[in-house]
């Protein structure tokens, strides 16, 4: 067992699960979506991106790309949150919440792809 691959897999998977946890719930209900979960999803996503940097294989290029997409989506979601709550003071209206959650939904898709790719690569390894 390769410990570095365990850590790598851990972060990629954790990014997906956190993202999924945030995404789960009614799309426009602020009570169903916690800001800390979004924050955690973003931080883990960033760490997963850094871990993918400097990998060599073709698969890892795709992994890195999907990770960058995740970061982009989540940063956009965080910005929407911060601007609407702290800058414009409109609060978490259903419209704002819906846009935040749908952005994180996009990130979820990319995270899912990351995990699938990682699984494929690992499966290819053992053969």
């Amino acid at each position: 067992m390769n410990i570095s691959r365990v850590v790598f897999g851990f972060f990629v998977l954790l990014a997906l699960t956190l993202n999924f946890g945030f995404f789960l719930g009614e799309i426009d209900n602020p009570d169903h979506h916690d800001v800390y979960e979004l924050f955690a999803a973003l931080v883990v996503g960033l760490i997963a991106t850094v871990m993918k940097l400097g990998e060599r294989s073709q698969m890892s290029a795709m992994l890195l790309a999907s990770s960058l997409v995740v970061d982009l989506h989540l940063i956009a979601a965080v910005l929407v949150w911060a601007i609407s709550v702290h800058v414009l003071d409109v609060g978490l209206t259903p419209k704002v919440m819906a846009s935040i959650v749908s952005l994180s939904g996009g990130a979820l898709l990319a995270n899912l792809l990351s995990v699938v790719l990682l699984t494929m690569e690992t499966a290819g390894y053992s053969r």
Binding site: L46, V50, G54
Partner: protein, 570 residues
Amino acid sequence: MASSTSLLFFRRMRLPLIVLIAAYSIATVGFTLMPGTDADGNPWRMSLFDAFYVVSYTGSTIGFGEVPYEFSKAQRLWTMVSIYLTVIAWLFSIGSIISLMQDPAFSQALRCARFRRAIRNYDRPFYLLCGYGDTGRLLTRSLTELHHPVVVVDIEQDKIDALGVEAYKAPVHGFCMDAIMPQNLTAAGLQSRWCMGVLAVTADDRVNLKIAVTARLLNQRAAVYARADQGHVADNMRSFDTAHVVRPAEEFVYRLGLLLNRPYSYQLYQWLRSSPEHEFPKAPEVPKGRWILCGFGLFGKAVYRVLRETGLEVTVIEENTALEGLPEGSIAGRGTQAETLRAAGIEDAAGILATTQDDVDNLSILITARDLKEDLFCAAVANRWSSGPLFEAARPEYVAQPGELIAGTILSHIRSPLLSHLFNRLEQTSDEPAKKILDRLVPSTDSVRQPQLLTVRLSKNRAPALHALHKAGELLTVGVFAKHPLRPAERLDVEVLMLSRGDEDRLLPASETELEIGDRLLLACSPAAARRVRVLLESDSVAYRTVTGKELQEGWLFRKLEGKLSMGKS
């Protein structure tokens, strides 16, 4: 490749970046958990947004103070934690970047990437030079004078560093690596389409041989010029079609042989087979009689053979009497001592040759011999380029420096491949044609600049204008090159040294000689005249005017009006 450097960079930066992200997120979350109060004393906690704001300015050590409200004790406690956490994380990542920059492996990779990029960006013919010693320096200087970029490969970093401070007229890229490795030569641009030639002039025969083989296999179009000290290595190189192999000893002896037997050929050879800035050589009178040869090494042996072939009597002085092939009656000892020289019979000798491998010994031999006998013909080998001034001061009648011999010979090959044909042809005849050529090239024997040598091939690609004229039925003669296109009475400074047609080489063809398609000509001319000749080869109107003396009508209408010629590049 550039991507491999960035790959290395990111691999090394992975941990510092993760530490940084982790430190920031811990500090941010911590702030939101610390209880505090707002301006009115109500319980209040920071939002993630406020927390990230505070961490951002404390982490970068800017410190705006306590915003938006004054901190509680708990928040101050966490501020301390986050300051140490983020500052240490920053120091760690910046330290990693700096140590990565100073890492020899990384800087080597960076240099390598820069080097490759520079070579990839070449857009004109360049030469790949392996070995930056005396020969390498001379070659680099002369090649850059001809505006060819040079890529220098040497195994010693010192020499590459020395390259950086020299001023050359064309880009010169030096790289420290072992030329014996094929992948290094490939990295140095061996397979580039602009790589005109590979010059293997290291001091090691084995390395030169390997370079020559590598170059032949990996790039068929690049000409290979190699130095070989040993005879069998030279034969080996010639066996696989190396453009030119130079053996310093052979070259030295060949020139000495010319000096002894054909003074005019010697002058011409010595002059044209050296760097362009070289002065016109004098041909000293060689006295007849017995010669003393000091040193029986690589040069000594070759010299001995040639002197014997010329029919001269030779007495050898050599310290090591066990040497193979040492002739009978040789004197044991060093030529630097007067007794040894006397034992060799210096009083009735005609000349002395100092060919040991030590320049100090060679100089000492010359000085001692001159002391013993005033009017002795002195010849010497100057092994190192740096002792050149000393030899100049000692004023031997003939001195040769191996580096100059190699560089000059290779250079003349690069400048004009036909030159070897010329000298081969001169070898077959008497010394008379060489004298004629010299008379034409050197009106007065004061210091004259070396002429520019041009090789002209009468083909559709190389001389389109003349080719078209010939196809149109115009009569082309050798004299056309010396004609001035505007002033027919004037004669350009162009000498046609040789006309090469098929296997036949004609020296100094008469100006009435008719030219045929496929002819190759060796021209010697001044730089200004060389430009005119190039225009003559390529411009239809200039060629037409020069050959017929009439103006070429360009454009469809004028041609129709003139109504006869169908010129142009069809």
